[in-house]
């Protein structure tokens, strides 16, 4: 049985903000199908009572006092900008 359809691949590409050609849709459908099929082997394991591991070390919130301090200067922040105007990042129209 196939794990992922072409339509699902197109849907996922849109969620991931990628535009794919028809050839790429075909290629990724085939490859993702194989990878997801391979991942199905995890279902051999009963994990009903197993806690998920999100992180290997015990993490706790790291808090500090809320003090004002200098942040990245505007000029620096814009150094790598592909386009800018009036000290801000410039993008094409949003609609």
């Amino acid at each position: 049985m196939s794990q992922i359809s072409k339509d699902e691949v197109k849907h996922v590409a849109n969620l991931a903000r990628l535009s794919l050609s028809e050839e790429e849709v075909d290629m990724f459908t085939e490859q993702l199908d194989a990878i997801i099929g391979f991942a199905e082997q995890l279902n051999e394991l009963d994990t009903e009572n197993i806690e998920p591991t999100t992180h290997v070390l015990e993490l706790k919130n790291v808090l500090r006092d809320d003090q004002a301090r200098e942040s990245v200067p505007r000029e620096e922040a814009l150094k790598n900008a592909p386009d800018e105007r009036d000290g801000q990042f410039k993008v094409p129209k949003t609609f």
């Binding site: 996922v12 969620l15 990878i35 991942a39 394991l45 998920p52 591991t53 990245v72 993008v91």
Partner: protein, 485 residues
Amino acid sequence: MSLLEKKVSELHDLLHKKEINVTDLVDASYDRISQVEGKVQAFLSLNEEQARRMAKELDDVLAGYPGERTLAGLPIALKDNISTKGLRTTSGSKILDNFNPIYDATVANRLYKAGAVTIGKLNMDEFAMGSSNENSGFHVTKNPWNTDYVPGGSSGGSAASVAASEVLFSLGSDTGGSIRQPAAYCGVVGLKPTYGLVSRFGLIAFASSLDQIGPITRTVEDNAYLLQAIAGHDPMDSTSANVDVPDYLSSLTGDIKGLRIAVPKEYLAEGVNPEVKEKVIEALKVLEAQGATWEEVSLPHSKYALATYYLLSSSEASANLSRFDGVRYGVRSDNAENLLELYKNSRSEGFGDEVKRRIMLGTFALSSGYYDAYYKKAQKVRTLIKNDFEQVFNDFDVIIGPTTPTTAFKIGEKTDDPLTMYANDILTIPVNLAGVPAISVPCGFSNGLPVGLQIIGKHFDERTIYRVASVYEQATEHHKAKPQL
């Protein structure tokens, strides 16, 4: 012998006696690069002007070596996913072709403070996704032992540059084997530290719960020097562990009497090349002769590690790589009428196939309706894999096996099928999932290509790993072999 084939301790001595100066070392590095880089192609950017200026400053200012600056004057190069202020940092991707960071990664800053001189930035698989350097957006680095073969990946440039003596040592990053696998393929020493020991601040993120920066060197002792300089808590990385950093050099006692070694049967099973297996058994005999004992054990969930890893790392990557949108930095598509097209076209033009594949897989695994079946399931299996290690470490000091199932493969040999390529990392991936530290050290050759021995330790027990690795290195000659270029 070239200066760059010496050990850190020998160079300290020469600098201290003023028989050489830092400029000699930096010259030696760029001379070697101009001789062999055409064949190896380990670098993406060189930092020549800055490096020569820093060498001169160190020579003028430093009255005595090495002093507090433990790496003073020593030539290093960094994997190109480690941010360096004002020095191009691409993470191996076209989408960052023109990116010049505005700050240094914590490790880059610590190296600078220790006095190391950054020679340049090293090639890698795009965003560290790959096992051969064939996924670099720029060019393929070659294995110095045979330039028809891959150097491994994703830190291929980091391992190849050290094996080719272009620099004294380097930093790589390891998410599923990306330091240890290329170190094994190139016949050098590569350590993935315990998750959290080294700050990830300024490392361009791939999979944040797995990524870890670590040293690649020619000897175990040099590895300890380099780890000492970069390890330790960093307030800028909330996942960096707040633990005391021990002294690593003093762990090299030369004594492993009574050491208990576990050898997982899954690590010497079918799929592991017979000659690789033979070298590992030989290595165990060497350690036995030095007073260690070893026993076969089982890590029963090993076979599920690969699928678990690809689901988790791709999921994390799909979130991390959403920041590349052509707005604030990186390359922007010229063909966009509106903002949505700008995102889609910049990403589609800037990312290579492997990166797109993993973003797609991760987005799928995290998407509505599939989250529990794939992502959460993989997190639960991760717990089982982590428990396997904890169980074994109740009774043993280290776990030993091969670093990789085979030696390096030919360029182009595995590019067609992603799953075949992924299988290279089957022996290194479980270590990242469990968050424990592991080293790869050279343990011989098969058909002229290096074989790597993997020594895995308990959380934050890099000292035992170094002690065992160093005893093995001292008892053998493998680390003295040099590629002919």
